[in-house]
């Protein structure tokens, strides 16, 4: 693969992070005292019921929202605005419909000071990496959901972020496409060893991909427990250890909750 990165890894440190929203002049606690360290090149999954603030947590780490108390630091630098060292992928691929796949991916490099030839090469390499070769000139509407999300992954990676934040990236895909893209994500992550933090509703997915699984509780959002997944990558879906951990996380997550 022609795509090369100078092993962009980083340490993310979150300490006593709290976040309130004010709705109708009433403060709503979204996150309460979150402490989490994410190591260089680690894959961390975050699961939790709706309203546990897991998406807000990602938005704070991305810098899209910056009104919080506590500290969020990447390599010792406080985060309070978006930066190119943190990429993000949303549940909706959010490709701009009037641009081709290639233009969408290249759009991420608008504010990068790199020669045009280098930009073009990086864009094509990334499109190739996510398996969309031959679809450079396709418009988002011409892509299936899985292909569109691949393009979104390419766009997030082209600026070579140290940390990739994934907000339910596969949540809108059908089961089969979902499994395929889980493997793709794992492959890309193994190849580049960047730090990835993924919010998901799918416990199986969280355990299959994550080195650690953070389980969050809602109202206010806080960390209930962090589960280690001590298995090497790439993983075997049929592994009994994996299944045991999945069952444990699932049990913990649904503990005391009627489903």
């Amino acid at each position: 693969m022609a795509f090369e990165t100078p092993s962009p890894t980083a340490k993310l440190s979150i300490q006593s992070l709290s976040k309130n929203y004010v709705i109708d002049q009433k403060a709503l606690r979204v996150l309460l005292n979150i402490d989490l360290d994410v190591h260089e090149g680690e894959f961390v999954s975050i699961v939790g019921r709706s309203g546990c603030g897991k998406s807000t947590l990602l938005r704070l780490v991305s810098g899209l929202e910056n009104d919080y108390s506590g500290t969020i630091q990447l390599d010792g630098k406080v985060i309070n605005a978006p930066s190119l060292d943190r990429g993000m992928i949303f549940q909706d691929p959010s490709l701009l419909p009037w641009m081709t796949v290639r233009e969408n991916v290249a759009f991420a490099l608008v504010n990068q000071n790199i020669p045009k030839a280098e930009k073009d090469k990086r864009v094509l390499d990334l499109i190739d990496l996510v398996g969309l070769k031959g679809f450079e000139s396709a418009y988002p509407k011409e892509l299936s959901g899985g292909m569109a999300q691949r393009a979104a992954i390419a766009r997030a990676l082209v600026s070579q972020p140290k940390v990739l934040l994934l907000d339910e990236p596969l949540g809108a895909l059908d089961a089969l496409t979902r499994l395929r893209l889980q493997n793709e994500l794992q492959r890309i992550w193994l190849q580049h060893r960047m730090t990835m933090i993924m919010v998901t509703h799918d416990v199986e997915e969280a355990v299959y991909l994550g080195d650690r699984v953070v389980i969050m509780d809602p109202e206010p959002g806080r960390i209930r427990r962090i589960v280690d997944v001590p298995l090497p990558h790439p993983r075997d879906r049929a592994s009994p250890v994996l299944h045991a951990i999945r069952d444990e996380v699932l049990k913990d997550l649904t503990n005391g909750v009627v489903i």
């Binding site: 991305s62 899209l64 978006p82 930066s83 190119l84 943190r86 990429g87 993000m88 949303f90 909706d92 959010s94 701009l96 419909p97 009037w98 759009f107 991420a108 490099l109 608008v110 504010n111 996510v130 398996g131 969309l132 070769k133 031959g134 679809f135 396709a138 418009y139 988002p140 509407k141 011409e142 299936s144 899985g146 292909m147 691949r150 766009r155 997030a156 600026s159 496409t177 395929r180 493997n183 793709e184």
Partner: protein, 281 residues
């Protein structure tokens, strides 16, 4: 890489293109509709001709079509009708351009700035409840009976729907599109030209089309009251001199122009968005 290429083969890119050709039954229905569209005015004209021949009504009330045609030819060749037309259309386009400019600027500003929205939007919602024709007396008192008052009326009738469309267009942009731009640190100006403008354009263009149709109606109404030229004035003069043929010609031309403006706008819209047609999800 290997499993990636397998996925690609399962879904050829030409697939959506095949969907564009309507299936045979739909084409049949479409042909029937076209036929009806041609037939209905013919039926109307034939019925009208028969009615005027019947002698049940005086020719001044049910003007025979051939008399209408003669009046039309006379007024067209003596230059009166073309003068009225250029007068009306000149006002329409002048006022429309001013109004659309103001509308786009205000609407977009409201869309991107919460503060502008807080200041301007409530006033807009009040103004929207007010038919433009209700402002004619006030505007005459302020702007007199010259050209200005008609330009102002058309501009007002245009600016409001255009501003609201521009506002809705900007407000309707999915949040994640803007998030993506922010994540990649896209400069504000590029965000505006590459995300906000193209994303809000479809809604804005609809507003521009509605505004054109509405402005035309407002203008003709205004010309009935204050003008020394224009289609509306021609009809008013016809009423005063009891020339129903002239009034009817004005009615037909007003309708035809409204129809043509709308069709022309749609054609322009298709032409402009042809390249990005496939974008609509």
């Amino acid at each position: 890489m290997d499993d990636g290429s397998v996925i690609l083969k399962t879904r050829p890119v030409s697939e959506p293109v095949a969907l564009l050709a309507p299936p045979a039954p739909e084409r049949k229905a479409w042909k029937r509709q076209r036929l009806a569209a041609v037939l209905s005015p013919i039926i109307l004209i034939v019925g009208w001709t028969l009615l005027s021949r019947s002698g049940w009504f005086p020719a001044e009330i049910v003007v025979p079509p051939e008399v209408l045609w003669k009046t039309f030819v006379t007024y067209w060749s003596n230059g009166q009708l073309p003068d009225h037309l250029t007068g009306s259309l000149g006002r329409l386009f002048g006022g429309y351009l001013i109004g659309a400019g103001i509308g786009i600027a205000l609407g977009t500003l409201m869309g991107v700035s919460k503060q502008a929205e807080a200041y301007v939007l409530p006033g807009f919602h009040i103004m929207r409840q007010l038919p433009t024709v209700a402002l004619i007396p006030a505007f005459i008192m302020i702007f007199g009976v010259g050209e200005t008052v008609k330009l102002v009326l058309v501009a007002k009738a245009t600016a409001l729907p255009v501003a609201l469309a521009a506002f809705q267009g900007v407000k309707g942009i999915p949040r994640t599109w803007l998030d993506v731009a922010r994540i990649h640190r896209i400069p504000a100006l590029t965000q505006f030209t590459h995300v906000i403008v193209p994303a809000s354009l479809p809604v804005l263009v609809q507003g521009l089309r509605t505004a054109l149709a509405r402005s035309w109606m407002v203008l003709v109404a205004a010309e009935l009251l204050v003008a020394d030229s224009g289609i509306g004035q021609m009809m008013e003069w016809g009423r005063q001199t009891f020339r129903l043929d002239l009034v009817l010609i004005g009615v037909v031309i007003t309708g035809l122009i409204g129809f043509t403006l709308d069709k022309g706008f749609r054609a322009l819209e298709r032409l402009l968005t042809r390249g990005s047609r496939r974008q609509e999800a």
